[in-house]
Amino acid sequence: MTEAEIIEALLAFIDRDEASEAAFERMALAVFAYQFAHNQPYRRFAIQRGRTTLTVRNWRDIPAVPITAFKDLTLSCCPPEAAERIFMTSGTTQGGVKGRSYHPTLSVYDRSMLVNFRQRFMQGLARIEMGILFPDEQAMPNSSLAHYLSLAKRDCGAPGSAGFIGADGLDLPRLTAALERAEAAGQPYALLGASYSFVHLLDALAAQGRRFVLPEGSRILDTGGFKGQSREMGADAFYDALSAVLGVPRSRCINMYGMTELSTQFYDDGNAACPPVKSGPHWIRSRVVDPVTGRDLPEGTTGVLVHHDLAHFNCVSAILTEDAGVMVEGGFRLFGRVDGADSRGCSLAVEEFLKAARG
């Protein structure tokens, strides 16, 4: 398939209402064949694992690339310089080396994001006034999250929607004014942003002793965890605080789980209880594997998540994450990054060493 053909096929696939196992498989094998043909490092990786277009018969056989490979290798079917956009990870680990995802066009990413976002976050609303707690795309042109949030605002934000994080950080006076307006008008309001930005907001509001009761139908979307950018909060404490300070019930606090190395996001249906079940649309599927052997683990057993995201067609679609999870009815539960710190004895593990070596 050519690039134009695969893009066309994927856009059509995303526009379907759903996909059977067989339909997903056909598309997945086509995408794998495309990546095997055009992405040389991935081709070498697959061959080394004994997987080629001849031996891969099932989408589960498609070799999943460890997420760190996005830092070490140029994983792209198009020449990197031909990419319309390159999204980069924040580079907080591995000595500042950033994982890169190359997008020859954002049409597939944007379609994937919007179809899914409308269904899982908008839930029937055409538009809602949004407050964005993240820098905009001009400030962070390589951030997939900045692009995601700008799409949300552009295509699903009602008039008055605005970003509240600028060069000087959180613009609290403007944000509280927006929240007051929403409260007074009785219009539902949506706050979206990085999880750590919400912690800064909670701390700032607590310092002022401010609380809001946002109107019925208001909602919150947080993503990305705290990443050392704010104090760490347990999930229950975090959603309790959001609910108490902003008046949005925990069932309307939705967490998005996404990554730079994917073009599709996962959502839960609110955080009334944690950890909630997360799931994605019909063009992404997940497995839980034993990280050493790469083999599927039975439902109910904790392992490491592998995602097969057909929309991430230009890099690789199958990635082995560093996130622990368990498959359950309707999706998976996410337990966060796997961390062997407690089981290491007095020997030294890689991350601590790198951290110390960097000083």
């Binding site: 490092p41 070498r44 990786f45 080394q48 460890p66 760190t68 490979a69 070490d72 290798l73 034993d290 990280p291 050493v292 052997t293 790469g294 904790t302 392992g303 490491v304 082995l320 560093e322 622990a324 796997v338 961390d339 062997g340 710190a341 407690d342 089981s343 290491r344 004895g345 007095c346 020997s347 030294l348 593990a349 890689v350 601590e352 060493f353 110390a356 070596a357």
Partner: protein, 483 residues
């Protein structure tokens, strides 16, 4: 099977709240009850240990303490003793190490605590160990005597069985009342040792307590930190920094942070006759305790120019690891440990695509991984649990710039080289911060009297009281026989 961890003189089991930790391996499971003391219980216990040590332990000649420890260690070395049998049965389930590793490891380790080895231990730090019993003449004049702390707190980490005995025995030798906090990963052996001591000398056993709190539980930790005169702590740098911050400024703090070990093989050791046995010893060091100990090798530097190339040596090591996988199976890995192994191996595989200078040996599903690298590469941790990087170098001197930047993490290095080269390289390694050089095959079994992390095990614990010559001479003037 249920086991009770800890040793709490003066407290009955019924007075204490217990938490149950579950362990399973090798088709068996063990429940271990660990004590959760309240703050008043902790304070009372600390006071009791301090008082008991003052009243009894500090009055014992060090030779008698050595003799009692020797008897206790003999019990644990006797394969027919009930305590030894219990250790062999239970520790593999708790730690996950295969029964053979535990059996051999225990014997090898405990042997370093018999009377002759303890005497060596004492002699390493004290020219005259009698200084622990009475004032001894000082070279400069006057007299000196060494006193251990009244209350010594040990915060143990890690899951190499028995490691706590090292500092516990050091504490006894300097006559310190000891409180040891066991790690959740191996909470038993220290308490058993205390109970064996109790069978030999009950009053001695009342001078030490074995307790538990959940790692990182600052509140429980605080109770003990504020009681101790001296704190010996093992763990990662973050955990140690947290303890240092909470410890009273008047307490002596002796931290043992995480360390990384490595090995070096000279071309002289790489002929066809010597290479295979050497590879077996190196693989043994990797296999033993799944690299969980700070002394385990995570990287080997192999000199080019021998009859056996670095690549061939890596293949030898791989074969030996494959053999050990059968005789000493790797313990079951947690998800986090498995992810650590996979992340390391995956990253190496990815880098292997850059060119032909890196080879990943073994299959992803094998319970071991070896990566061989042709280009010089700086020291870095492996994925642990039998993962090893083998780096080719043009000369052993080329290793120094690769390890020197990590001075704060260096400790053990194994060297296979001829005597002149051994001493020359040892000098360079010492300058770089390495504190222990051993043979291959002995990395995980430091000898008796080892200066852990380059420090004095006993000397660091004591304070010296001096009777200056002036006092001695002045006293003469007040003697009844004075003219």
């Amino acid at each position: 099977m249920t086991e009770f961890a800890g040793h709490l003189p003066g407290l009955s089991a019924a007075e204490v709240e217990w938490r149950v930790l579950d362990f399973a391996a090798w088709g068996e499971s063990v429940q271990v009850s660990v004590p959760l003391l309240t703050e008043p219980q902790g304070c009372a216990l600390a006071a009791r240990i301090r008082e008991n040590a003052r009243a009894y332990l500090k009055t014992l000649p060090v030779a008698e303490i050595v003799s009692t420890i020797d008897k206790a260690v003999a019990r644990l070395l006797d394969r027919n003793d009930p305590w030894r049998r219990k250790a062999e049965a239970v520790l593999p389930v708790v730690t996950g190490y295969d029964p053979e590793t535990v059996r051999l490891g225990l014997s090898g380790y405990l042997r370093t605590f018999r009377a002759p080895q303890l005497q060596r231990f004492l002699a390493e730090d004290f020219v005259n160990p009698g200084i622990l019993d009475a004032f001894q003449p000082a070279v400069k004049g006057g007299f000196t005597r060494a006193y251990g702390p009244e209350l010594l707190l040990h915060v143990w980490a890690g899951n190499v069985p028995g490691l706590p005995l090292w500092s516990l025995i050091s504490g006894l030798l300097v006559k310190a009342g000891s409180v040891g906090k066991v790690a959740s990963a191996e909470p038993l052996l220290a308490g058993w040792f205390a109970r064996i001591l109790a069978e030999i000398d009950p009053r001695l056993a009342e001078c030490l307590a074995i307790v538990w709190w959940k790692g990182g539980d600052a509140e429980s930790e605080q109770v003990w930190l504020k009681q101790a005169d001296t704190i010996v702590a093992f763990g990662g740098n973050d955990a140690l920094a947290a303890i240092r911050e909470r410890a009273p400024v008047t307490a002596r703090f002796l931290p043992h942070g995480h360390k990384i070990g490595f090995g070096m093989v000279s071309a002289a050791a790489l002929d066809t006759r010597k290479a295979a046995p050497l590879a077996r010893l190196a693989a043994h060091d990797v296999m033993r305790y799944e690299q969980q100990g700070c002394y385990a090798p995570q990287m080997l530097f192999i000199e080019r120019g021998g009859k056996v190339s670095p690549r061939e040596f890596a293949e030898h090591v791989s074969r030996e690891l494959a053999g050990f996988a059968r005789t000493h199976p790797r313990r079951a890995l947690s998800v986090a440990e498995a992810a650590g192994v996979a992340a390391w191996r995956n990253a190496e595989e990815m880098r292997a695509f850059d060119g032909g200078s890196r080879t990943v040996l073994g299959d992803a599903g094998d319970p071991w991984s070896v990566v061989q690298v042709e280009a010089a590469e700086a020291l870095a941790p492996s994925g642990l649990n039998r993962t090893l990087k083998i780096v080719a170098v043009d000369s052993l001197d080329a290793v120094m710039p690769l390890v020197a930047p990590f001075r704060n993490f260096l400790q053990s290095a194994a060297i296979a080289a001829a005597p002149a080269e051994l001493f020359r390289i040892a000098g360079l390694l010492g300058e770089a911060g390495v504190t222990r050089i051993s043979a291959f095959g002995r990395m995980t079994a430091p000898e008796a009297g080892w200066h852990n992390d380059g420090r004095f095990n006993l000397l660091d614990l004591v304070t010296i009281t001096e009777i200056e010559q002036s006092a001695e001479f002045a006293a003469e003037g007040f003697a009844p026989y004075a003219d």
